[in-house]
């Protein structure tokens, strides 16, 4: 699906390194965020600095004295992951280091809310940093509170659903388009439900000099109320029902990587998750309408070529 550039050596299930860079951490069973981090680091390799703001992966990976990253890694200020990563890249370059990559792993809140300003600065400066946002659609580390990427209808601990409110009242921010609006060199959306696509995109970003961005959909059984063994499956279903899309932005153009002729059932996707269980048919219809408007616009304006 990904628009692969020929001269980048492909990374696939057959040749991906058996080396692990993120293990021994305390993430919940079925954690999608940890899958995204694990896969990305396998692609990026050991000459990688990773920067993580406050959030799940920082909380589960750096509990002194049990450090879970095999590569150089650092927790950053919550709003400052992008700027701290920029500083790492600048410092390492100024010290004469070559052939290395700096990567951010930040959650949806750390990216679309509190970290957005620093991320904008990082892209503006075109710093040589890959920013990966693992999106589990709420502040999971602090106990499932609504973020700017929590979708309509979601029940969280700060958007309870009841007689008066439907849960979350707003739609997800268009994060991918906000990032693309900076005219960034390379940005993509991905899902851990489509791991090869995600790997391809990380690989492409790795070989792109300058600021790059990947928004990866990452399931969270704890926050979503889903069985731990369905994390990959549910992240795939989110794409198949069209609520999450796979796309890229490069050379100032948008491209849809996966353009399903027919979407799978949104209702099936929603009702198997605790966070959406309360949703009425009217609410589900609102979600579908929002999806259709978005896809109509995407198909009209973005390239759909294979």
């Amino acid at each position: 699906m990904t628009n692969q550039t020929i001269d980048i050596p492909r990374v696939t299930a057959k040749n991906i390194t058996e080396k692990e860079f993120f293990y021994g951490h305390k993430a919940c069973a079925g954690c999608g965020g940890s899958v995204a981090v694990r896969l990305a680091l396998k692609v990026l390799g050991e000459r990688t600095y990773s920067a993580l703001p406050a959030g799940c992966m920082a909380a589960v990976g750096f509990i002194f004295p049990q450090m879970a990253f095999a590569n150089n890694s650092i927790i950053t200020t919550f709003p400052g992951v992008a700027s701290m990563a920029s500083g790492i890249a600048a410092g390492a370059k100024a010290l004469g280091q070559k052939d290395f990559k700096t990567v951010c792993f930040a959650g949806d809140g750390g990216t679309a809310d509190i970290g957005l300003q620093a991320l904008s600065g990082m892209i503006d400066r075109d710093d040589d940093v890959l920013y990966i946002c693992y999106d589990n659609e709420a502040y999971m580390n602090t106990g499932i509170q609504k973020s700017g990427l929590t979708p309509y209808g979601t029940q969280t601990t700060t958007t309870p659903a009841g007689k008066n409110l439907p849960g979350t009242k707003t739609n997800k921010k268009n994060l991918f388009e906000i990032i693309a609006a900076h005219d960034i060199k390379y940005a993509a959306t991905a899902s851990i439900g489509y791991p090869q696509d995600f790997i391809n995109k990380v690989n492409k970003a790795k070989h792109t000099k300058g600021a790059t961005f990947i928004h990866v959909y990452a399931s969270c059984p704890t926050g979503w109320g889903t069985p731990t063994h369905t994390s990959i499956e549910i992240a795939k279903e989110a794409v198949d029902c069209g609520l999450i899309f796979l796309a890229e932005y490069e050379n100032s153009e948008f491209k849809i990587n996966k353009n399903p002729k027919e979407f799978k059932s949104v209702k099936d996707y929603l009702t198997k998750q605790g966070r959406f269980k309360h949703m009425t048919d009217v609410d589900i219809e609102k979600v579908i309408q929002h999806r259709d408007i978005k896809w109509e616009r995407m198909r009209r304006n973005w390239s759909t070529k294979k």
């Binding site: 990253f69 950053t76 920029s86 500083g87 600048a90 010290l95």
Partner: protein, 396 residues
């Protein structure tokens, strides 16, 4: 050898001190009255006088976050700010000191909104005394330049590894032009060797930094941080002496005692006001009044030892605070008073609050402070906190 003296502002002196210290990365966001420093540094990078990555960050929080990132791989870093910007950095300031990143920052002391004021007082930095940074305050542009160079040597010392803030009074120092001697690069290189630290990420020895600690470990980390700050006193004194030997300017370490040896009444100062107080003290001395000045240079670590020793020799002490901790007293006074009480000093005490938001403190006002102190000796007057030259009626 002929000395290279040029006529520059305090901000420009900081820029020269920074250039001579050869940082790898500068990350800064503009704020009055710090701006001339970052403008000059940008020019120095552009014209090749500095080999340095200048990062145009989008906020002060990012300036310090970026500086920490660069420091975490072993790069020497510089940033500069003031007032609102410093407060916006507050989270990152605790982060930098806890992470033991020896970043050097210039702070142009400026009032804090509301009401808005771009002019000087010291409420910005004094409100962050507990953020774990070494805080030095300078009296003139030359000291500003010299202290930037010293700051790297102190902050990067293996026993210290603590960030350091060099404070200059906004406008009074940042925008006032003085003759400043620019040291030779070769001499600075000799004084300030390359930054080496084991506390960094590297591909030879990968590390996970800035981690979480559990309740069982946290106190020990904070104990070590405090110890490093206390140990820095020795390094500060040694660095200042070495600097004096190599460059001919010695600032007397933690404090400078001016005519204190036989003084009855001493005024404690911080920053540029020292210059005016020196002049007044000399005039009063000429009239036979036994007055002196204690210029506090470092607020953290605090010159407790020096104040305790001084308290044995004097009869009255006054503290000028260009700040107020609302609901109590001036912050410098609180710190000085703590040292006095540890020394069981029985001296007359008074706290003078003023110069807020850039109001000038005049020689006449300072003379009155000295007279108040002299009159207080052997009187039954209690220690008071006075807003001097207040233009509103009070019931105090």
């Amino acid at each position: 050898m002929k000395k290279n003296k040029i006529f520059i502002s305090g901000d420009e002196a900081v820029a020269h001190g920074t250039r001579l210290s050869r940082p790898h990365v500068i990350a800064a966001y503009p704020i009055t009255p710090q701006t001339i420093t970052v403008e000059r540094l940008s020019e120095m990078v552009e014209n090749g006088d500095m080999d340095c990555d200048y990062m145009h960050v989008e906020s002060e929080h990012s300036a310090l976050s970026a500086a920490m990132g660069a420091s975490s791989v072993g790069a020497r870093t510089f940033t500069a700010t003031s007032s609102q910007g410093l407060l916006y950095m507050a989270e990152a300031m605790h982060y930098a000191s806890g992470g033991r990143y020896p970043i050097v920052m210039m702070n142009a002391n400026r009032s804090v909104a509301l009401p808005w004021s771009i002019y000087g007082d010291q409420r910005d930095s004094l409100s962050l005394l507990d953020s774990g940074w070494i805080q030095v305050y300078v009296e003139d542009a030359q000291e500003a330049l010299d202290m930037i160079i010293q700051a790297y040597k102190i902050a990067e010392h293996a026993k210290v590894l603590t960030p350091m803030m060099v404070n200059l009074d906004g406008f009074i120092l940042t925008h006032t032009y003085e003759m400043v001697e620019i040291p030779e690069q070769e001499m600075v290189d000799k004084f300030l060797p390359k930054f080496e630290t084991p506390n960094k990420m590297s591909f030879e020895n990968p590390k996970n930094l800035a981690f979480s600690s559990q309740p069982d470990d946290n106190t020990e980390f904070k104990y070590q941080q405090n110890k490093a700050m206390l140990d820095s006193i020795e390094i500060i004194e040694k660095t200042d002496q070495d600097f004096g030997e190599q460059f001919g300017r010695y600032y007397q370490g933690m404090v400078e005692e001016i005519m204190c040896a036989d003084a009855d009444a001493v005024l404690v100062t911080l920053g540029s006001i020292t210059g005016t107080v020196r002049v007044v003290a000399e005039q009063l001395r000429a009239k036979g009044l036994k007055v002196g000045v204690l210029k506090i240079r470092y607020m953290r670590p605090f010159p407790e030892k020096e104040i305790m020793a001084l308290s044995k020799k004097i009869k009255a002490i006054g503290v000028i605070d260009k700040d107020i901790s609302f609901g109590y007293e001036g912050t410098i006074y609180t710190n000085v008073n703590s040292a006095l009480s540890k020394a069981n000093a029985s001296v007359f005490k008074k706290n003078f609050i003023g110069g807020l938001g850039g109001r000038d403190i005049t020689k006449a006002e300072i003379e009155k402070m000295f007279m108040d102190l002299l009159e207080g000796i052997d009187s039954d007057k209690p220690a008071t906190v006075e807003f001097f030259n207040l233009k509103v009626e009070t019931n105090d």
